[in-house]
């Protein structure tokens, strides 16, 4: 039974602290791993010297894209409302890879040839537009902040389950989170991207062990048939308002929602600065293509984790937290606590916790890269030396993490989750400048900027308009009692597609509008011969398909002393 009396589980806490110490030591030692002469440039600090091979990139991207939030929130969504809000993550993380297989190698080539650290660098060079680059950079930073905060929400769920989230003094309650984050900030500062790259190994090992054990347990103890039956019963049971609780299997009214959530999120995924950072830190195009082929192994894990949300339904897991309020994010941590002995539950919680720290580190580095390259150097100090840039980047990474901490501690959890959905709406609006730019320079820079602005405003306004009842379920004398306190905005990432009754992901509607505006304006601007700027990239820089010798030689020179490691050519 779940304890709601605020007592701390010592065994679980001990195991979690042990793993936390291991990765912290690793994080600080990472500064010495495959390092170049110094960390005094953004290439070294923010991209790990651009020398990561297939295996490191795999762990880095895996650590980056499959976050604690995914491991907590996706099953939580499955637990609460079923397939449309939760299981869409499975097709989403499958279709993402064929898509990146196509365009990411081009991005890698052009970025490597021109020394681009961020996508905004590319947009700046391709379109000769500081404004458009600024728009891309600001969007990236904006969308990343709540994402980092959400990692903290994942850690909070684990701490709460272990008995550390009880009421009382807020400082004592949040102290574990603050300590964990301060240590993370310290080693990110000193080691840069190498720290999360190294810790990602530990994280993935733990996560794989946890998920394999959990699925075997669920299969044996609950049975998959019973699990789905319980989920179906819950999802098809009407709520007091008469609507179905959730979706067990998509139907006429949710096909488009499911499909657009999956494809919209897949397109957005690699627009996030942290995903781009991991890609640009890889050694060659072949590394990216191989990773596109092998990364879906994580999606299998994600799918199995998602199903744990259903397992929690079948297992009648209570989701009431230390404060007595129902919180679906607690479904999986509580399920682990129910199913497993304390020591293994501790391993599970360590996995979730470390799974939050790795992406939080990469995201803060990515946001720092964007700020330093595309705002600081572009608009504040144009003659910044590489050393100065790296220093600014380090400090900004601290500020970003501090901001996320304030975000996570200060805002209502439900709000943070909705801002993340909004993050997806925002980041998708940069795709036209970035991906279309990889193939054609047909779009006019001003048209792209206005299209972006229209998409941003439309998406934000429509998301704001999605009101849902602000309901809270509290445990009063052992009975759940629902209280509704008005309506709240940003209640859903789905809205009716204009002139239809079909609900679709707002990000996709906004992107369509963005594309229409950019296309029409491009035709107009080209007709009146508006200045298109000078393209700083050359056609042959986009498709150097073999590992490029000149680039490799330069990269090797920069990371002198790195482990000799030949880039594979061909299908090995």
């Amino acid at each position: 039974m779940i304890l709601a009396d605020g007592s701390v589980n010592g065994v679980e806490l001990g195991v979690v602290i042990f793993f936390f110490l291991v990765v912290s030591v690793g994080g600080f030692l990472a500064a010495k791993w495959r390092r170049g002469p110094n960390l005094h440039s953004l290439d070294e600090w923010g991209l790990g010297g651009r020398g990561f091979g297939t295996v490191v990139t795999w762990f880095l991207l895996g650590g980056d894209l499959y976050t604690a939030y995914t491991f907590v929130a996706v099953p939580a969504a499955m637990f609460a409302t079923g397939a449309v809000s939760g299981f869409f993550a499975v097709p989403y993380t499958i279709v993402a890879y064929p898509i990146i297989f196509i365009f990411m190698p081009r991005m890698w080539s052009v970025a490597h040839r021109n020394g681009y650290v961020t996508v905004a660098d590319f947009v700046r060079g391709r379109y000769d537009s500081r404004g458009l680059a600024l728009a891309v950079a600001v969007t990236g930073i904006l969308a990343t902040m709540p994402y980092i905060a959400l990692q903290l929400v994942g850690i909070q769920a684990v701490l709460d389950t272990m008995g550390l989230g009880g009421s009382g003094n807020w400082f004592v309650r949040d102290l574990p989170l603050i300590i964990a984050f301060a240590v993370l900030a310290a080693y990110t500062y000193s080691s840069g991207l190498r720290a999360p790259a190294l810790i990602a190994f530990v994280k993935d090992l733990l996560i794989y062990i946890v998920i394999i054990v959990a699925i075997i347990y669920v299969g044996a103890k609950i049975g998959f048939g019973d699990m789905f039956t319980a989920a179906k019963t819950k999802m098809t049971t009407p709520t007091p308002t008469g609507a179905a609780t959730g979706t067990f299997i998509t139907n006429d009214s949710s096909y488009w929602a499911y499909g657009t959530l999956a494809f919209g999120s897949a397109l957005a995924l690699f627009m996030y600065p942290h995903a781009m950072t991991a890609v640009l830190s890889s050694r060659s195009r072949a590394v990216i293509r191989r990773n596109a082929a092998i990364l879906p192994a994580y999606s299998l894990m994600l799918a199995l984790l998602a199903l744990l949300g259903f397992a929690a339904i079948a297992n009648k897991t209570s989701v009431f937290g230390q404060d007595g309020t129902a919180n679906a994010q607690l479904a999986v941590p509580h399920l682990f606590q129910q199913l497993f002995p304390s020591w293994f539950a501790g391993v599970c919680f360590a996995a979730i916790g470390i799974g939050a720290l790795v992406p939080a580190a990469i995201m803060s580095i990515a946001a720092a890269n964007l700020f330093t390259r595309n705002i600081y150097r572009e608009f504040i100090k144009r003659d910044a030396s590489p050393k100065h840039e790296a220093q600014v980047g380090k400090i900004v990474s601290l500020i970003v993490k501090f901001g996320a901490l304030v975000f996570a501690l200060g805002l209502d959890r439900q709000n943070a989750i909705n801002f993340q959905l909004l993050g997806g709406v925002w980041i998708l609006q940069t795709i036209l400048s970035i991906v279309a730019g990889l193939y054609t320079r047909w779009f006019h820079r001003w048209a792209l900027l206005i299209g972006w602005a229209v998409g941003m405003v439309y998406g934000t306004v429509v998301a704001y308009q999605q009101q849902v009842p602000n309901a809270k379920v509290k445990l009063v004398n052992g009975e759940p009692v629902t209280t509704v306190d008005g309506m709240r905005h940003f209640g859903s990432s789905l809205a009716k597609f204009p002139f239809t009754d079909q609900k679709v992901y707002i990000a996709v509607t906004a992107l369509l509008l963005n594309i229409i505006v950019a296309t029409v304006l491009t035709i107009v601007l080209r007709a009146i011969k508006a200045p298109a700027g000078v393209d700083a990239t050359a056609a042959d820089q986009y498709h150097s398909d073999a590992p490029d010798e000149r680039v490799l030689v330069t990269a090797r020179r920069e990371t002198a002393g790195a482990e000799p490691d030949s880039p594979a050519s061909g299908g090995r």
Binding site: V95, R290, P547, E549, A568, S569
Partner: protein, 89 residues
Amino acid sequence: MTTNPTPAGSGEGGAPSTRPLPAATKVAVGVLLAIPLVALALVPTYSHETPALWGFPFFYWYQLLWVILTPLFTWSAYLVIARARRGGR
């Protein structure tokens, strides 16, 4: 060694290594990558409970199946590109 042995034919000029892929290769790669996208985009085709497999409704096991199949398609696409590149030697 610090760099890969230069592939035969891609001399210091580097021309072969920066050459775009042949059209046939591009088409093959495009088809291989499009198959999983189409299979998952057609949501109504897999929104069924039956046939169930080991207790998993069709909707769920079909998508799990594509988690396993998609890497095979992407890996094949990778091999096709790698072969085309070797053919250029």
